[in-house]
Symmetry: C2
Subunit: 714 residues, 2 copies
């Protein structure tokens, strides 16, 4: 695997090496030396003989030894030539610092294209460009120039250098943990997010992968690799750029494509990723997942030394979907014995001063609570760590004793403890001890709760059934010969969309119940067909030139008598001719009017970053006015189909409200799966639109169907 | 005003004074001495002669000098007697530390009642009980025992001692600001939230009032005083206890009543309060409002030294409703001259390395940006303060220069600056300088954005028109003689609800359009009346014994022919008799069937904490299935009526969707105001229910109305 030689490089050349201490080419070398990089360092600069005591080479080819990785600090324009040299020398990869590519406009885009061409031609993989660099903290391969980067088990993939710096700074100031690797993805020009994932998935020293993403080039590949990764280790991710200004900022920053954030978030979650909304939660959540067992049963206890924190924590944990069950009678009895009579022992537990003179009571409480079979994890909130500071210095010893006890409880019960402490940033020894045992200590109550939420989410994900859907299409595998013929015929006729008759037939042969339509070529024929159907009918134009039938007066509903049908037939043809004198009219579709039921809308389209996605919503005002829809990246499993139906706010309407019987949700679910199957079966399809589908107590009916193919170039 | 003598007490007695250093009665005295309280201190304990060098008194009456305030550290049971002594001595108030009252159950409640009785009898006002104490930081009257409490201009009112401690700790560690007063409200037994507000409103040294609330006893009085206060200074508030576990926790903590959080939040906002959702935002938001000018035009700029922070900030600010407009061409040209070509200058502005060798460029950028007439405030995000740490020590001097320049810009433009810095907690001198100038520096990007959001909200509130509604009812002022007679008659007959005929008449005389109903006593009479109406009719039972008419088969809709009407009349009477053989039937109401339109529902009820509130929603599934309703505390202004109509998600349905004409929103608004007026006019009313009201393109019709009176005891 190529990335092995790059991310674990045993030798690195610095192109643009310098003696000037404000230059990146100087700082990089000094940093490698200061941090004691375990590999070989080769400065490259034709004007220098030695830099910082190291021999300096005129060009890469002058280096006799093997070179795994090159750091290029020279400007954008020089890079294609440098890459050519690298290729000839057999270098595996290059880290390109320079910006000034696509994110700056057309000229930059041209430079970028030259760069890609050179990289491909000479087979050199690229990190960046427009990156702050990369680090392997195990070998001290530090190409970022950050001093004393904290080491640990988190691999960081970031599309922003200053977000990486934020996280490194936070790790150093607020924890004892840190990072195994850092990669600045930059413009993601060559090596993509999913390739880094693959590498870190197999890295034995990485326990959690932490990601900051502004936009992705290959969203689907990312989902596929993420799905495989999260079965083995957690991925924690923040995606920014959801507002239009944020997207613009991301664009000017990395030239990122703006994603449909709604699709991305559900897709990420389906791939088992822990999506974090607030940037200041990122590090603590990753640290917690790296060091603590997960919450297996969704149930937690809160242990507090004051009511306010307990109340706030209960609110936040509840919002996060965690349950805070009452403790068992046995547990409560033990706590009552231990604590003053004013203490609350139901859960949250409030010691109510019971720890004031002896903080080891905290450990005693924790021991009792974690023994409770209902409780899957413990959040301690309040002043722990500050008793020695606030009350009496001697209490600090007791706090340290408590910390040792708490640390050992984790291993005993395999249940997590997270600690919120006001004194976190003061770093009293008791809190450092907790951290030594891997117990996260944070000063924000919100973040502490979110850490519990992440442990719960991860526990839930590992427990649940993992659908076979792994975001991979078996293109064409489920196609039917007749379906193939329909599509091929449309392509042969250079059409972009299927006629309604063709579209409905396609759905029919894949098992979807469509209205029983007939194509009439004359008004009399239409009358005869309608008579055979009994009841009122709908008439709709069928023409390869008319996609939006209603817009040109090509649809008439609820037509009943012979005369009405004749008149409607003629009017439709006349209307269409008025708009499109040359329209190739195949006939008029006669359909029985559907009985009333609940209308739903299903659509599929191609998302810029994730490819085929599917949409579901209730017809009429729910979609049009309330925008109440749900999206999923295709393909979907029966489980995803059910979830996407439950996701909309108006979902209860299908359950039968106001005394009505429930509607046939199973049939809708099946139709969603048929849509998924059709998209998979015919890769030519760009968009589908089933609007409306009518849902009955028993069964459904696809009343209108539209299928649009990709442009030949797509 | 009593609170003056309490909160600015010039002398304080400590009942339960002790020589034992772990006792509250010792710590309180030591703390008053250590902090150099400016007033007199009188320890009270019959067993001691001197404590910490101070003369100790056997009982309060032994003290010769005037005593303003007493701190009582003795257990709950002793307190009524102590209060009696205080009263005789002329003490103004007592701070009661002991818990063990209502929050612990029935016995505690009894103790509490004794305490109230004593306080009332002897005219001693009480802070608490179950409080951590109070502080006046101007006179160093520190009854909490907290060392080195940071002084400043924020008055803190908190229902949790450890939340107060959190805020004090945060102020000390992360800012140069602090507090003017702290009051631990405890169980809010005597002195209520609104009384503290009144005091702090007039305190010249308090610029912002910060509140942590779990539950309130007199919500309406609080709103009234808050409304007056926020016209003069900001109130920042966090309300917890919204989840059921949170409510339980609050209950076990302060015995607080759980509030309807939805009503509370809109009411607080209408009163001009800045409601904060996350506890770790509280202090920074208060500090920002205390020291920075508001954002007047909703428009802000972001200045960053890296793309990631800029993108994240843009997302959060957009979510908060702030606008991040493009800078003017002139501004951009000036920035382009100053910054490297890779910089982004539209807004967010990313200096892209342009400050690396000279951080004073930040000040230059800020000067240019704040001069832009579109920009109302500046958020700086990233590494400022860390250039000297991260790159070269010499840059620290330039950062300090920049800080001086930034500080002076505030006064010049009267626009706020908020700074996010990774190095905030390292406290480099440049950041301390910013704080000296009153510029808040925070290490969380989210919190920094929320500070901008608060400045925007405050600016908006000060700019907007302030409705006359100040949460005060002019009871009975708008009653009509006939309306009075209806209510009096119902009361005289010992009924709890108005007949439909009475309720509709009440609405009619207040100007609401109701259906033109007639009361029929015989089936034939009903037929005649229906003929007069033309078209189909509804028949509804009218009986003082039947509130829920449909439930007993007392309603028939869409009745047309003579025979149908006769049959329906008899059936209704029969149905009702079957359920209530003794029902006193006044007749059957004959109403013309309302034409179809959009159905809305309006209701009023009494909220535990805020008294009369009003609800609005769209009829049918919108209320029943989607729970899409909005609430307001009554009375409401035309503006509030409009806002509550806009607040529901289904609001666009009244605007006329799918080509339909808009509906008569003005008439609905008027009806909401009539409901407000009726509740104000007749204080006997407990609940009203207008369901449905049908809204047409022009006009509305109240189809059914229910009015329930308070129980005589309420």
């Amino acid at each position: 695997m190529t990335l092995e030689r790059i991310l674990n490089a045993e030798s690195v050349a610095i192109v643009g090496a310098s003696k000037v201490d404000t230059k990146r080419g100087f700082q990089a070398i000094r940093s490698l030396l200061d941090e004691k990089y375990e590999g070989r360092i080769f400065p490259v600069n034709p004007k220098e003989k030695r830099i910082l005591g190291l021999e300096c080479y005129s060009k890469i080819s002058d280096i006799k030894e093997n070179v795994d990785l090159v750091l290029i600090t020279t400007p954008a324009g020089t890079i294609p030539n440098v890459l050519a040299e690298c290729g000839k020398k057999g270098v595996a990869g290059a880290v390109i610092i320079a910006g000034g590519f696509r994110e700056t406009g057309d000229t930059g885009k041209k430079t970028e294209e030259d760069l890609i061409a050179a990289a491909n031609q000479y087979n050199v993989r690229i990190i960046g460009p427009n990156t702050s660099g990369m680090m392997n903290l195990k070998t001290n391969l530090n190409l970022v120039g950050l001093k004393d980067a904290p080491k640990g088990t988190i691999a960081l993939i970031s599309q922003s250098g200053n977000m990486a710096l934020s996280l490194f700074t936070e790790a150093k100031l607020k924890s004892r943990g840190g990072f195994s690797y850092y990669v600045g993805v930059g413009n993601e020009l060559d090596i993509k997010f999913h390739e880094y994932l693959e590498f870190f998935r197999d890295d034995p020293d990485t326990k959690v992968i932490l990601m900051y993403v502004e936009g992705m080039r290959e969203g689907r590949r990312f989902l596929q690799e993420a799905y495989k990764t999260t079965l083995r280790k957690p991925i924690v991710l923040l995606k920014s750029g959801r507002s239009s200004t944020g997207q613009m900022s991301a664009g000017s920053h990395t030239g990122a494509l703006a994603g449909i954030s709604e699709v991305a978030n559900t897709a990420f979650k389906r791939a088992g990723i822990i999506v974090v909304e607030k940037s200041d939660n990122l590090y603590s959540v990753a640290e917690t997942l790296a060091s603590q067992p997960v919450i297996k049963n969704n149930k937690v206890a809160v242990l507090a030394d004051g009511g306010g924190h307990a109340t706030i924590a209960a609110d936040i944990l509840t919002d996060l979907g965690l349950s805070i069950p009452e403790l068992t009678t046995r547990t409560r009895e033990k706590l009552i014995k231990l604590l003053p009579f004013t203490a609350a022992v139901r859960n949250p537990v409030d010691v109510a001063g019971g720890t004031d003179s002896d903080p080891t009571v905290f450990a005693e409480c924790a021991r009792i609570i974690l023994k409770d079979p209902n409780i899957g994890g413990l959040l301690m909130v309040g002043l722990f760590g500050g008793y020695g500071i606030r009350f009496a210095e001697s209490l600090a010893w007791k706090e340290e004793d408590a910390a040792h006890q708490l640390g050992k409880l984790i291993g005993k019960h395999n249940k997590p403890i997270v600690v919120h402490s006001l004194y976190s940033s003061v770093k009293p020894h008791a809190l450092e001890l907790l951290r030594y045992y891997g117990i996260p200590v944070v000063d924000s109550l919100d973040i502490a709760c979110n850490c519990m939420g992440a442990l719960d989410q991860r526990g839930h994900y590992l427990n649940e059934y993992h659908a076979k859907v792994n975001f991979i299409f078996n293109w064409r595998s489920k196609s039917k010969p007749e379906g193939r013929r329909i599509i091929e015929n449309v392509k042969k006729e250079n059409r972009r969309f299927l006629l309604e008759t063709e579209a409905k037939r396609l759905f029919q042969i894949h098992g979807a119940p469509v209205t029983e339509d007939k194509l009439a070529v004359t008004a009399d024929e239409a009358v005869r067909m309608a008579e055979g159907m009994g009841g009122k009918v709908a008439l709709k134009i069928v023409s390869k030139d008319i996609l939006h039938k209603s817009d040109v007066g090509g649809v008439r509903l609820n037509v009943g008598t012979k005369d009405e049908i004749k008149k409607a037939f003629k009017q439709i043809v006349k209307n269409v001719k008025a708009h499109h004198p040359d329209a190739d009219i195949k006939g008029v579709l006669v359909s029985p009017m559907a009985k009333p039921g609940v209308e739903v809308i299903i659509g599929t389209k191609l998302d810029d970053q994730f490819g085929p996605v599917i949409m579901f919503g209730l017809g009429g005002i729910m979609v049009e006015v309330l925008k109440d829809v749900s999206f999923r990246v295709l393909p979907i499993s029966p489980r995803s189909a059910r979830h996407m139906m439950e996701d909309i706010r108006s979902a209860p309407l299908l359950d039968g409200v106001r005394g009505k019987a429930p509607h046939d949700k199973a049939a809708v679910r099946k139709l969603l799966l048929i849509c998924s199957e059709i998209v998979e079966a015919y890769p030519e399809i760009a968009e589908m639109d089933l609007n409306p589908v009518i849902v009955y107590e028993k069964g459904i009916s696809v009343v209108d169907a539209r299928v649009i193919l990709k442009k030949p170039s797509e």
